[in-house]
């Protein structure tokens, strides 16, 4: 399974050139360009189409290629000391984001099971308890319904809790709190209360974790009005989205993935956030739009390598924002390529893909040359056996076939 992450040049396209005319082949084969950081820039909001909000001095950022796995980029490693930014793993990026926000705003607190003294079951909250104390990093008993509700209650008064579900699947126990209180209170109170809570945790199909620990809660939560959902996929967007989510006045459900915690990337030193409602252009292209998020992004990028070899030019967009969808970016892409493939990890029935198909069909039907294809996981409980689990989830070979089908 580790093979999937190696050699995947997840090119997060940030370009200074307004015309967006990339040589897409260059993107895939030379993923190691450096990002020159202007010292003294305090804040940069990265937009999905590559525009960067700059400091008044006007110097533009060079292209930032975020290599998802540093192991392959040996040529870059040679001059790592002179490269700007710092390298870290995804869970460290999340931790950095959390730590910076907790320093910045004393109302931010973390609650969850084993987040404090244990450091978090995936080490996302490591070291925070020592630094901020027991009242800001709270070890809860195993009572998801209650501590999620308590987090929401605290948020109603203005605190900004970050609630961790040790596995997203456990949040099913807190569904009532998330749906009724978290999502609806702002509305039912006529706007009096905001719920600036972040509910985060790892989900998705891991490595033989069994049916109950491999759930994709984004399908279940997506109908809840009033919440926002984002899914991170690289250390860069993990930190950016985490900070944005904490600063947001709306409740945000932040989806991480069990298998992505050890991705390595070089991220900027300075403060930055990612826009919560924007999708990320991973790889611009001409022939087909591939919409994906979270772990499937890497399967897609692996398939993209094969597709490029076969002469296709897929445009890969990491939708990141699962609720609401960034229909602007998606629409622009559909208008360009006229073919859409959705690759997701949700189950086919009622998943993010299903909603995305509906949204695209409703809004951009005239621009489509072919029916939208959606590759999802099978509508089965995730089996334990490794071979069956592989078949449950979409594999790169299937993505290649689908694109070939779509582009006939």
């Amino acid at each position: 399974m580790a093979a999937i992450f190696q050699g995947v040049g997840a090119a997060a396209a940030l370009s200074s050139s307004p015309s967006n005319s990339f040589d897409s082949k260059k993107f895939v084969f030379s993923p190691c360009r450096s990002f020159s950081v202007r010292k003294g820039a305090s804040f940069a909001v990265v937009r999905s189409d590559g525009r960067v909000n700059l400091n008044p001095k006007g110097r533009r950022a060079q292209q930032l290629i975020s290599n998802a796995v540093a192991t392959k980029s040996d040529n870059a490693a040679a001059s790592s000391s002179s490269k700007p930014g710092h390298e870290l793993l995804l869970f460290e990026a999340l931790q950095e984001g959390l730590e910076e926000e907790m320093e910045r705003d004393p109302r931010v607190c973390v609650m969850g099971e084993d987040v404090g003294h244990y450091g978090g079951s995936y080490k996302v909250t490591k070291g925070l308890a020592k630094k901020f104390g027991d009242l800001r990093v709270l070890d809860t008993p195993i009572a998801e319904n209650s501590f999620t509700g308590m987090g929401i209650g605290a948020a109603m008064t203005g605190l900004r809790p970050v609630v961790e579900g040790m596995n997203m699947g456990f949040l099913l126990l807190a569904f009532n709190q998330i749906s009724n209180n978290c999502g609806m209170l702002h509305y039912t109170s006529g706007g009096q209360f905001t719920i600036p809570i972040v509910i985060r945790g790892p989900g998705g199909v891991g490595r033989q974790l069994g049916a109950e620990h491999s759930q994709r809660l984004e399908s279940y939560f997506q109908s809840i009005p009033g919440i926002q959902m984002v899914a991170c996929s690289t250390p860069y967007n993990a930190k950016g989205l985490m900070k944005a989510a904490i600063r947001s006045e709306n409740p945000v459900i932040f989806f991480e993935h069990v298998l992505l915690y050890n991705l390595k990337e070089r991220i900027p030193d300075e403060d930055y956030i990612c826009n919560l409602e924007e999708a990320e252009m991973v790889r611009p292209g001409e022939h087909v739009t591939i919409l994906t998020y979270s772990r499937m992004r890497y399967h897609v990028m692996q398939a993209a390598k094969t597709l490029v070899n076969k002469g296709y030019d897929p445009e890969v967009i990491d939708i990141r924002s699962l609720k609401p969808f960034d229909l602007y970016t998606i629409g622009n892409s559909v208008k360009k390529t006229h073919r859409v493939l959705i690759v997701e990890e949700c189950m086919r029935t009622g998943g993010i893909g299903a909603s995305l198909i509906a949204a695209i069909t409703e809004n951009f039907n005239d621009y489509l040359d072919a029916p939208i294809m959606c590759l999802s996981s099978q509508d089965v409980p995730t089996p334990y056996a490794g071979t069956l689990e592989e078949v449950t989830v979409v594999q790169p070979a299937q993505i290649v076939t689908a694109v070939e089908q779509l582009c006939q």
Partner: protein, 449 residues
């Protein structure tokens, strides 16, 4: 020939801790016999809202030797699972039970296979005590067909319906309402049986436990809630998670009993007592004071939140197998060599089972779609164009991707519309359809009629 007439004639309340004099002891075979023996538990029971049972437990040599053998087997099995996990033959989550064997073994000795047991994810040994075979355990852990859940469940999903073992659950605490439901069904069918719903000290803080307990008490259900208190909920010690770690008292209006969970005989006595109580008076809580040597799971070293001294201290002083060994030796029921031979036998059994399990094949890909639904009426649907389903069924034949047995399965397929053969592409999964392969042809005719 039995020397223990002496023991039998001794009054029940007198403790019998000293070994019987060797002059009267006659060597009996390792298999032991059924002549009664009375042993005192290590500590007296503490009770809440009820009268504690006596400290003196009735047993016999055969039972003690069975305890020893079973616990040695479980211990060996868990250690072997540890090695298999490190060898990456077992993956995902693996929660080991070594140290807590006395609970499984003692409980089983007090009840029948008609009584139900339900537990959480630390279920390997409970499964074995309910009659599961080592092959089923290791095959399931390795995800093979010979596993008890055909490789589809994994470590946290062991079940054995024919001996009323209801699993095997990953979500903390969720099994307790299920257990109370089992008890409800037992009361409903007037079975005169009881349910033991096991959970841990971490799960004791789940609200659903109290909800289920309230309902069980209201309806007088024969539910016995057993808290296996190993003092740590993953990395959180009990005193950091519970305001009142006296779990046997937390039932409030429901009586409770605190038991030394490292003493198999105490466990047996408590479970016997609980069964009698539950059948007459409704729910009761048992708290088993036990300990796990391993961390919470294989990804937890188990030493960041407790000291190694603590672990080795418990191992030296309270180990359940050692206790039974000492008991057997002091009562002269077997020699040390015989016990060591038992352990060797057990080790060989485990190794054989592992070898056999390794030979079991991985599940067929078609197994992905079996058992999602039960065969039955109404849960069938066809593609939008029923003819398409027939085409795809034929296409699948080329693939041998699915077993075309009389099994009910969900089909996901790509419509390679213009080609009659699937070709070299892998099937792309689009929309699932379910159908019953058996009756398909007749349904097709009906549809086209």
């Amino acid at each position: 020939m039995a020397l223990s007439h002496l023991a039998a004639s001794a009054s029940r309340s007198s403790s019998l801790l000293k070994p019987l004099s060797s002059a009267l002891s006659l060597r009996r075979s390792i298999s032991g016999d059924n002549s009664p023996l009375t042993v005192e538990t290590s500590v007296p029971f503490t009770s809440h809202q009820c009268e504690a049972p006596s400290r003196s437990v009735e047993t016999n040599p055969k039972e003690l030797l069975t305890f020893f053998r079973d616990m040695a087997l479980m211990r060996r099995m868990e250690i072997a699972a540890d090695s298999l996990y490190k060898a990456k033959l077992i993956r995902g989550f693996c929660h080991l039970y070594d140290g807590q064997e006395a609970v499984a073994v003692g409980m089983e000795a007090a009840i029948t296979k008609k009584d139900c047991i339900i537990t959480a994810y630390r279920d390997h040994c409970t499964f074995v005590s309910r009659g599961g075979t080592l092959l089923e355990v290791f095959a399931e852990l390795m995800g093979r067909q010979a596993g008890c859940s055909k490789g589809k469940g994994g470590s946290m999903h062991f079940y054995k319906k024919d001996s009323n073992f209801y699993g095997g659950h990953g979500i903390v605490g969720a099994q307790v309402p299920l257990g109370c439901g089992l008890a409800f069904a037992q009361k409903y069918s007037k079975d005169e049986t009881v349910t033991f719903a096991l959970y841990g000290d971490g799960a004791a803080n789940q609200g659903q436990l109290f909800e289920a307990l309230n309902i069980s008490a209201l309806w007088d259900l024969p539910a016995i809630l057993v808290c296996e208190n190993n003092h740590y909920g993953m990395g959180t010690a009990e005193w950091r998670a519970a305001k009142s770690p006296a779990y046997y008292k937390r039932g409030d209006y429901v009586p409770g009993l605190k038991v030394d969970g490292m003493d198999a005989l105490a466990v047996k006595q408590a479970c016997k007592f609980a069964k009698e109580h539950a059948l007459k008076n409704g729910p009761i809580i048992l708290e088993m004071d036990t300990y796990r040597y391993h961390g919470h799971s294989m990804s937890d070293p188990g030493s960041t939140y407790r000291t190694r001294d603590e672990i080795s201290g418990v191992r030296q002083e309270r180990d359940p197998i050692e206790r039974i060994r000492k008991l057997i030796l002091s009562h002269d029921l077997a020699t040390e060599k015989e016990l060591k031979d038992v352990e060797k036998e057990v080790r060989k059994e485990v190794d054989d089972a592992i070898a056999q399990a390794k030979e079991s094949p991985m599940p067929e890909p078609s197994e992905l779609f079996t058992n999602v639904y039960a065969k039955g009426l109404g849960v069938e649907s066809f593609g939008a164009d029923r003819k398409e389903v027939a085409f795809l069924r034929e296409a699948m034949h080329d693939y041998s991707f699915l077993q075309m047995e009389k099994s009910f399965y969900a089909l996901s397929f790509i419509a390679q519309r213009s080609h009659s053969s699937v070709g070299t592409a892998h099937p792309v999964l689009i929309y699932p359809g379910l159908y019953w392969e058996d009756s398909f042809s007749t349904k097709k005719e009906e549809a086209c009629a």
